[in-house]
Symmetry: C2
Subunit: 156 residues, 2 copies
DNA sequence: CACTAATAATTAGTGCACTAACTATTGAAG
DNA sequence: CTTCAATAGTTAGTGCACTAATTATTAGTG
């Protein structure tokens, strides 16, 4: 029952302490940070996942659902209803691509494009709110990307 | 090309690049790690949030809903239906506390307590799966706790 | 004691995320 | 050309997470 240590049972038991779980800290951190974004994004009328989709489209505008879902590392089934809500909000349009009737062209409306201006202040606001320097944000970002790579890693 | 430099607009625009968003990296990392747990926890018949509740109860068994919700940093409204499913699975019981009819005593059943044995291998399995050393896990954990503290910090 | 505050848990409603199943188009092969 | 597989999106179903509203009990105050 050991775990590469000399003191089998106790070490394994300690590993089951809630506070020691990386997965616990990670999910709480994720929810906390998303929660911190909430009031800021509310002023744009966006939820956090919707904000990510808009970031996506501000970078390049007519994109397919699959393209967006890959950029955000999410299932198309998750993105689909989310896009419907953004369309209802008047920020994007969904049209079939001519020449490929099964693909969808998701594009910004003028309102959606205009929202970008208001969004430019979000990263700075959040950095201030979290009390992080640009360097700290970048370090955290690298750490997260490494972790993502680890999950996608060897043989998953 | 950074912002602490002389070129204002460009830096702000760069901040809106999806790939640079800490919130993006963090949510993807969280989903990825939870996803990596999934097949491992499936063998215990638990989802990831349910696993966290069980960790909680393995540490101390008759606990109130509020107590659990505070330990997990989640709303009681989130925990409530989750506990109902754990009760249906036969892992916990929910009984009113005598002497305080509004509080609920959430306690492990023998089956719930027994499941702990099988769970002892989870942290080690996950460390191996992610290719992380104990030191790396601890460093990541500290980083996340710091980030959580930052969101709870100054004036939220 | 009656009235009110506060506390404990649940329910309703919205939205996100996943898997599995389904429709519809496109492309490839015989 | 027709069949069959691959691709693109959507829908259905389960579960998590939050806010707001509701019910029930307990505690405090006049």
């Amino acid at each position: 029952m050991s775990a590469s240590q000399s003191e089998g049972t106790q070490a394994v038991d300690d590993d089951l302490l809630l506070e020691r779980q990386l997965c616990f800290a990670l999910t709480v951190a994720s929810r906390s940070v998303v929660g911190a974004y909430k009031p800021v994004l509310e002023r744009l009328g966006l939820t956090h996942p919707q904000y990510l989709v808009m970031l996506c489209l501000w970078e390049s505008s007519p994109r397919s659902v699959r393209d967006i879902s890959e950029a955000l590392a999410q299932e198309p089934a998750t993105i689909s209803p989310l896009l419907r809500r953004l369309e209802t909000a008047g920020l994007i349009t969904r049209r079939r691509v001519e020449g490929n009737e099964r693909a969808l062209a998701v594009a910004l409306t003028p309102a959606g494009a205009a929202l970008r201006q208001q969004a430019t202040s979000v990263p700075g606001t959040m950095m201030a709110k979290l009390g992080l320097t640009r360097e700290q944000v970048e370090a955290l970002h690298r750490t997260m990307m490494d972790l993502i790579a680890a999950t996608a890693g060897p043989q998953a």
